[in-house]
Amino acid sequence: MTTESHEELLRESGLDPHDNAGLKVALGRLADLPTTVEPASFASVLALRAQGPMPSRSPRTTTLIVGAVIGLGAGTGMAAAADLLPESAEKFWNEIFPDLGPFSDQGSSLPLRPAPSSTTPVQVSVGLPLAEQTPGPWRVQTPSAPSVTSAPSVPLVVRPNVGVTVPEVVPSELPIVVDTGTGEPVSVPEAPPTTGPPVVPPGQSETKPGQGTGRGNQPPGQSEPVADAPGRSGEAPGQNKPDKQDKPTKGGKGNGKPENSTDEVGPHASQDLGALG
């Protein structure tokens, strides 16, 4: 918005721009509010989009999504994600990372591929349903520190819907274990990927036995969204099983709170947008 536009705005409201110079300056500052949008964040948007429908429309989606984007600088990167639909994942991979070799999908999970150096920042993108259900803090575990999930060098703080940034991770053959804070880690299988779906902690996903599609390597009932049922929670009170291999030292509280009792009540504002576009 230009200065002239600000003046016009003031005039529309019956205010003389010359008598309201301070207000005009304030509007100018508001219009130029500094932001922190990075070019590479577009890749995160695409990754999130590839994960499927907006979770706000189906807050209790059953598919637990743990994706990862390894930044190699602006505009390039590597990506891996669990529970992407194979066709979506392949499309995403080929369009965004055409130089990184063919897409490989050995199951419902994709491998994280080695990054060029051990100091390459790794961003782990966490699907919105999981991120919202479990605000964190989260931690990542790597082969270099298999038993240290709370190592200061790999703290994770979830930023819902965008992901988490790992300051320093050794990405080579990276099996990521994300401690969701419920005491049940979520695994992204190491490359080459295993054939099973990612480990889904109890309570993090709603399933309807026998009604899954059986798509890809996911057994029926593993991935189909279930309609929101306010007040229901998949997490039983007191569930707090530590990881068998690597016992998380923090974030293991499972309070049994029915998380989705906080889901939308009444219509989504965003659901009113159907007429647009």
Binding site: A26, L27, T35, S41, R49, A269
Partner: protein, 178 residues
């Protein structure tokens, strides 16, 4: 600067490069809009908006102006969703903020010298007045577009705008007086 119509059309047709241009053009504005609305995770919500925008882009008709209005409509809707959700969640406060809670009054008396101060002043306005000011100034939307996004009449938006600007002026003068 608005996107060229051919870029918008290419984005609608699924061209990834055009969609990235769209993102680069509008994401900062959307993030600024969320910042002005006091969203703590403005970056995350911005990403959320564009996930939805890209999903709905196919078949969009309306050109650059319509696209901008559409994106802000989605942003507004996501903001409303966020507010509703947050009302039922405990508010998270950083430890530093909590420890400095007693200093807030003093901090508010800081003179208006940066954009952050304007945002702070804006947050003191009633919700709907803030929305109008943010959409008009940051979103650069017309009165009509703002009315459409907010689902209000143009007259109502004009009234809210006047009241909002007057309130903002009062806040500014109050800050200067102190």
């Amino acid at each position: 600067m608005e996107l060229r119509p051919d870029v918008v059309q290419a984005a609608v047709d699924g061209d990834l490069s055009a969609q990235e241009q769209l993102y680069r053009e509008y994401a900062p504005r959307i993030q600024a809009y969320f910042l002005a609305r006091g969203v703590d995770d403005a970056e995350g919500l911005t990403a959320d908006v564009f996930v939805q925008v890209l999903a709905k882009l196919s078949g969009f008709v309306g050109g650059p102006m319509g696209l901008r209005s559409f994106i802000f409509t989605v942003a507004h809707a996501r903001y409303v969703d966020r507010v509703r959700r947050r009302r039922r969640e405990p508010r998270l406060v950083a430890l530093d903020d909590w420890e400095d809670a007693g200093m807030i009054e003093a901090a508010e008396e800081v003179s208006l010298s940066e954009a952050a101060n304007v945002v702070e002043l804006l947050r003191r306005l009633p919700e709907d007045q803030r929305e109008v000011v943010a959409l008009r100034v940051i979103g650069d939307l017309s009165l009509e577009e703002t009315a459409k996004v907010m689902r209000r009449s143009v007259g109502a938006v004009k009234q809210l705008q006047r009241r909002g600007l007057l309130a903002l002026r009062n806040e500014l003068e109050g800050g200067e007086a102190s």
